[in-house]
Symmetry: C2
Subunit: 120 residues, 2 copies
DNA sequence: GGTTTTACTAACCCACAGGTTAGCAGTAAC
DNA sequence: GTTACTGCTAACCTGTGGGTTAGTAAAACC
């Protein structure tokens, strides 16, 4: 795959190609819980109720829905162990989001600092 | 500012610090139009109606709201020229989102390819 | 002087993300 | 045998992101 360089981001042609791709990516990880779930699972595979406790505030219904979405998009794998225990596992594909997450986090920190310094 | 390295993303401690930051960032650029507007402005400063035509499908009301959000968050600057023309300008701070946009676009392309290849 | 364009705002509507509460079949603990 | 936990789903509610239509004051065009 071709990778876009930073300078190309302001370049018109590349820009037009990138727009829908960036939107697609956003569409998949946007929402109140997606990132939190991936991050929680990044710290170890978890059972449904473990996950619910880790993400204080999420309801069973919503967690169930979000997990289904993430599974559909291939970011989370549902494993049923021999003893019947169900595990939600953050898989390799979710790891491919590292770059995105790291950039988001970096920018988020920058932004918070800007606000703290009353630059906005 | 400290920058998080990729390997740190799966590391528990860093992970916890990064979670809210990534969410903050997402919160600001999520939504149907934010990215499109920034990209459109990235290709040159624009007047209100120019922008509306460039983003086919957006209503005046929504565009007005989105621009206010972006202005509030410091990503877009509203300039009134001497002759009264109003220009919306993508500023330096919006450029600091380059890394995020580029990673999003890269991952979006990867994801589309995965779907095209029926890997999901 | 009439029409068109600019830069919006007001009033209203609706789908849906997300929340609340309740319940339920299966398993484990005591 | 009953209590508690697991892994959900059903029914229902609400807020809001976003859409539609209409209108308006001011400037620009013809």
């Amino acid at each position: 795959m071709e990778t876009a360089t930073l300078t190309e981001v302001r370049d018109g042609v590349k820009c037009i190609e990138m727009m829908p791709a960036a939107e697609d990516a956003l569409y998949i990880i946007a929402g109140k819980w997606k990132v939190r779930i991936l991050m929680a699972l990044g710290m170890g595979d978890k059972r449904f109720n473990e996950l619910q406790r880790a993400l204080s505030g999420i309801s069973a219904r919503v967690l169930s829905n979000e997990l289904k979405d993430l599974e559909l998009n291939g970011l989370v794998t549902k494993q049923t162990l021999a003893n019947g225990t169900i595990l939600y596992v953050r898989n390799d594909y979710a790891d491919s989001l590292r770059g995105v997450m790291s950039e988001l986090a970096k920018w988020g920190l920058l932004h918070k600092q800007k606000i703290r310094n009353r630059e906005i």
